[in-house]
């Protein structure tokens, strides 16, 4: 219990206390200590990131070993990762190498296209799900439509009234007002909440109240 729980919690407390106070100590030694920790933190992270690689090979390796459903795809994933790594180590990383081309034409294409599917899903959602079921939902939709039009050049062209009465705001002006005033006010409150939330969670971690990051026993 001591080595598995108490000492790690004590380490978190001591580190949190040191670096919470360090911010207010302008002395050169405090600064050197802080910079030294930064180098340590980066090295810990570099070795810790190996966990991701090991997990990947372990998970897919097990699927191939046990001939789980769709196991050939796992074999392909492992083979491609080894090929990519070897290409990078042997040939280098400059533009035009296999490493660079695989990244740019395979990874970017696939990942970019996967996220581009969202364009279709949002269109489908706009048609089927975005309903003005209440006054507040209507306010949301109106704000959304005005901002959408304000964000594209066509919105300025559709503001025909601005040509007749120049003092009247165009769609772009109204959109800018929505973003800079009511939207900004709402988001500021949320940012305040986020900032306070970060502080509170950090304090709970330092004091050992919040322990979920340590994992289960």
């Amino acid at each position: 219990m001591l080595w598995k729980k108490q000492i790690p919690l004590a380490i978190a407390f001591i580190m949190g206390l040191i670096f919470g106070i360090q911010y207010f100590v302008p002395h050169r030694i405090s600064d050197q200590f802080f910079q030294g920790y930064l180098d340590w933190g980066i090295v810990i992270g570099i070795f810790g990131s190996m966990l991701g690689f090991i997990s990947f090979y372990r998970a897919h390796g097990m699927r191939v070993k046990k001939k789980a459903p769709a196991w050939p795809y796992s074999l392909i994933a492992i083979a491609v990762s080894i090929f990519m790594a070897l290409a990078g180590f042997i040939q280098g990383r400059e533009t035009g190498t296999i490493y660079s081309n695989m990244y740019f034409y395979v990874l970017v294409s696939i990942e970019g296209t996967m996220f581009s599917l969202l364009a279709f899903y949002i269109s489908s959602a706009a048609y089927r799900a975005f309903r003005a079921r209440s006054a507040q939902a209507t306010a949301l939709l109106i704000a959304a439509i005005v901002v959408m039009l304000g964000r594209v050049p066509l919105g300025e062209q559709l503001s025909f009234w601005s040509n007749i009465w120049p003092s009247l705001p165009s769609i772009t002006n109204i959109s800018d007002w929505i973003l800079n005033v009511p939207n900004m006010a709402a988001k500021r409150s949320m940012e305040l909440g986020i900032g306070l939330g970060i502080m509170m969670l950090s304090l709970k971690i330092v004091l050992g109240i919040e322990r979920s990051y340590m994992g289960s026993d």
Partner: protein, 209 residues
């Protein structure tokens, strides 16, 4: 129109359409693309981590410059890997508590400064009816206050308090509407990027107008 002779580009086109085929239904081409991207990503990061992180930040300082003290954080980092071995997973807590504790300590004063104090300061605005800016300031002030009141769930939203909280909901709806309006552009941009790749790079169509 001049078709590209670069095979890599056509490989990119193949994978682009493999993923798009998912819109019709799930199929082996999509699954292939899924697994290929994971493999390429891992291989990419392994090489990058070695040349950009491990070599300059650990191998050179330790083995060429003699900074043996860096073996301690290296050991802590290796402890993190023990997380996957149930019998020794408790060792990973040392590394995690070391970094999370330090990070939390660093975050407290910095978040207070950047996210709380500066934002509160910026809300202390000149209020009045003398100009459009002052009227906007009133709207901002009321908006921030009402949304903060809405998020205060420790007190029941009744009476005046409840009324102000309801006003906060209206501000939130407008805020979410603005976010949604902006988000539509983001989602469309992603597909437009792919369209440009296929039309310009692969098919060689000059779209410059």
């Amino acid at each position: 129109m001049e078709l590209s002779t670069n095979l890599w580009i056509w490989l990119g086109v193949f994978f682009t359409f493999s993923v798009l085929s998912f819109l019709y239904k799930d199929n082996p081409f999509y699954k292939l693309a899924e697994h290929v991207t994971v493999g390429v990503s891992i291989g990419y990061i392994i090489v990058l981590n070695y040349y950009q992180a491990l070599q300059p930040k650990f191998l050179v300082p330790v083995f060429q410059e003699g900074k043996l003290v860096l073996l301690i954080p290296a050991l802590l980092g290796i402890f993190m890997v023990f997380r996957i071995i149930p019998k020794y997973s408790w060792l990973s807590r040392y590394a995690i508590c070391f970094t999370v504790g330090a990070g939390s300590g660093m975050a407290i004063p910095r978040s207070m400064q950047a996210s709380v104090l500066r934002q509160l300061e910026a809300t202390m605005l000149n209020l009045g009816f003398g100009s459009t800016a002052e009227i906007n300031n009133i709207v901002i002030f009321i908006g921030v206050l009402s949304v903060l009141i809405y998020f205060f769930f420790s007190k029941e939203h009744k009476g005046v308090f409840g009324g102000v909280a309801k006003l906060g909901i209206w501000f939130l709806m407008v805020g979410f509407g603005a976010t949604f309006g902006y988000t539509v552009m983001a989602r469309l941009s992603l597909f437009i990027g792919r369209v440009l790749f296929v039309l310009q790079d692969a098919l060689g169509i000059n779209l410059a107008g």
